[in-house]
Amino acid sequence: MSEIVVALAGNPNSGKTTLFNALTGARQKVGNWPGVTVEKKEGELRTNGHLFRIVDLPGTYSLTPYSLEEVIARNFILEEKPHVILNVVDASNLERNLYLTVQLMELGRPMVIALNMIDVAKSRGIYVDAENLSRLLGVPVVPTVGTKGLGMEDLIGVLIEVAEGRRESRPVHLYYGREIEEALSELVDLLEELHLLPAYPRRWLALKLLEGDREVLSRVQREEGAEPLLSRVREISSRLRQIFDESPEALIVEARYGFISGAVREAVRISAISRKTFSERLDDILTHRLLGFPIFIGVMYLLFYLTFKLGAYPVAWLEDLLKFTEESLRGLLPPGLLREVLVEGVLGGVGGVLVYLPNILFLFLGISLFEDTGYLARAAFIMDRVMHSLGLHGKAFIPLLMGFGCNVPAIMATRTMENPRERLLTILINPLMSCSARFPVYILFAGTFFRGHETQVVFGLYALGIIMAAVVARFFGRILVKEEDLPFVLELPPYRLPTLRGLFFHVWDRTRIYLRKMGGVILVASVLLWAFSAFPRTGGRPPELSRSYIGKAGRVLEPVLAPLGFDWRMSVALVTGFVAKEVVVSSLGVLYKAGEQTTQTLEQALQASGLSPAAALAFMVFVLLYVPCVGTLIAIWKETGSLKYPLINVAYQLILAWVMAFLVYRLGLLWLG
């Protein structure tokens, strides 16, 4: 059985993911494209004797070298030479979707078009004649409705026929006008004569040279004997510029759109019902000048309510289950190392993260709903002004907001952002959003040292996190390699009714990634951290926390943290907080109450220890800003595909935390005494 490789390409929102899921079902592999933050999905499809490997290329509007996704998409097609390109086209938005199509047609591979969303097109009075379009483009066109699975059999049949060469798929050559065509044929001849980059389609290379495509140019420059070609390209471009008073690349775009509007005129019939669509009416309310914001805030509130309030019930069940398992293990196993590893290391660490799975499921469900209905784009539309002042995209808002819940799913939610640079920035500042695990620390210290002013203190801490995020975003925005000055173009696709199947796939996809990525590494990390707190043994028994390795590390750090007003116990607690921030509180409990009479609460113990309010405030600031927990670091590592970024996070956050806590402590001593 031979494998047929299919490259799936299309605009964002064209229904590419839906078709991919409909074709491959659950047989999918998710990873990253080598060395970059862009997600790569592959799926398999077996039908009567054929094995398809379907590679989902990033959704793009074009194939310029200006964005990472576009370069990935075109390089995959040029280098891996898939047997067929499957181009998903939104029939209700044909003109702009065909712009990518005509560029794909130039890559010299057989192609099949899935004319998707014909139901939407029909409801708007747009009728596309697939046969006619197919004839005009020279490529088979199969009408589909991805959400209902309509046209899938036809599509698979046509893919097989094309892959086996039983059906013609010879994309037509666009005619770019006399001057450009002359230039192209001259460049094609030159390329042939000089034997440059013979593996690539020549006409495509010639076009790219005329467009001044920097990636292709630099590749040609690296070849030997390319100089005559390059100087000819420069001559031709400047001549074209003189004739048309316009850059060659703009002329090429115009010619493509010219061809497209010709094709659309011939193949599309519009029975003009130009009444407002349902989607437009809905937008009149949801993005209304006055109502837009309140509705948006309400929706966000609902998201959090769903996540934390409704999620709390299953979380409680899981906690009970965890407790039950723990007790059973204690009952079944004799005291000793094995029991400790299982109970304190594995259950304590992995279980502690796993119980939040229901919260995370609800969060993912909410995000998937936003994405599938199209509200996500509206949220970005509404919030862009605010986010823009931080140098971020409107779409960064939701991941940042989710960070207040838990940074791990929040970092995964940055997948909705297309621009890799903005996505990276959003990931890097996400841990500064004060997650819910830090809250117990605030409650403890604010309740003990700032009784009656807890709200102000806690609010201030959240605000500080946001302000720091803004500062850091601006700072990293300068440093991070600035991409080409791409415009902010946010497509606002029509609202759509999400399908259960689509939602299920989205939630399942994210959860699976979450479990797989988190599971293994968290297991290792929690067992390791447990070991640091359980060794060295004293007479075969676990040591006191202060004598363990982790305690020793805390003591070593004490001089570093002393200028902030922290004692050794606080230092130890901070080190243990690396597992998860709420552990800081339980460690403090163990450390402060050790040896005291047991009736004393942790609050009383803290007060009795003679800690100053200034130091308490500094401690909260430090907990807010210092290293992300293991889970978050792993999420950053996996999502960026590089260990560099979690290390950057650790470094900058430690520095930031120390400096801010120092300032707070010193100023606090002056004001609070």
Binding site: Y61, T64, Y66, E95, D245, E280, I382, E484, P487, L492
Partner: protein, 105 residues
């Protein structure tokens, strides 16, 4: 400087009552258009990736564009062109020259 005004055949802001809108009388930038107003794109200024991307999204000379709405905080602005909706920020819309079509009553 001289940019050549380019027009597509028979692609005026045709409105049922008014015929074709007069040329070159209401030249302005896209960010100056108010909600509900329409224009014909004349030229995208700027260069490099910025201009290329806008052209590829269909911001071509002669294309009709309509302001759907301003975001609640005024920026960005939603436009409709070539049958789809897209939002641009003011600073970007300011680089798109348009010929404003007369308001239909």
């Amino acid at each position: 400087m001289g940019f050549r005004w380019r027009w597509r055949r028979g692609r005026g802001c045709r409105r049922r009552e008014e015929g074709i809108c007069p040329r070159m009388e209401n030249l302005t930038t896209l960010d100056e258009l108010r909600t509900g107003e329409e224009g014909l794109i004349v030229k995208v200024l700027g260069n490099g990736a910025f201009r290329q991307r806008l052209l590829e999204m269909g911001f071509l000379p002669g294309t009709r564009i309509r302001v759907i709405r301003y975001a609640p905080l005024e920026d960005p602005v939603e436009y409709e062109l070539k049958g789809y909706h897209v939002a641009l920020r003011h600073e970007e819309a300011a680089k798109v020259l348009v010929e404003k079509c007369p308001k239909s009553s």
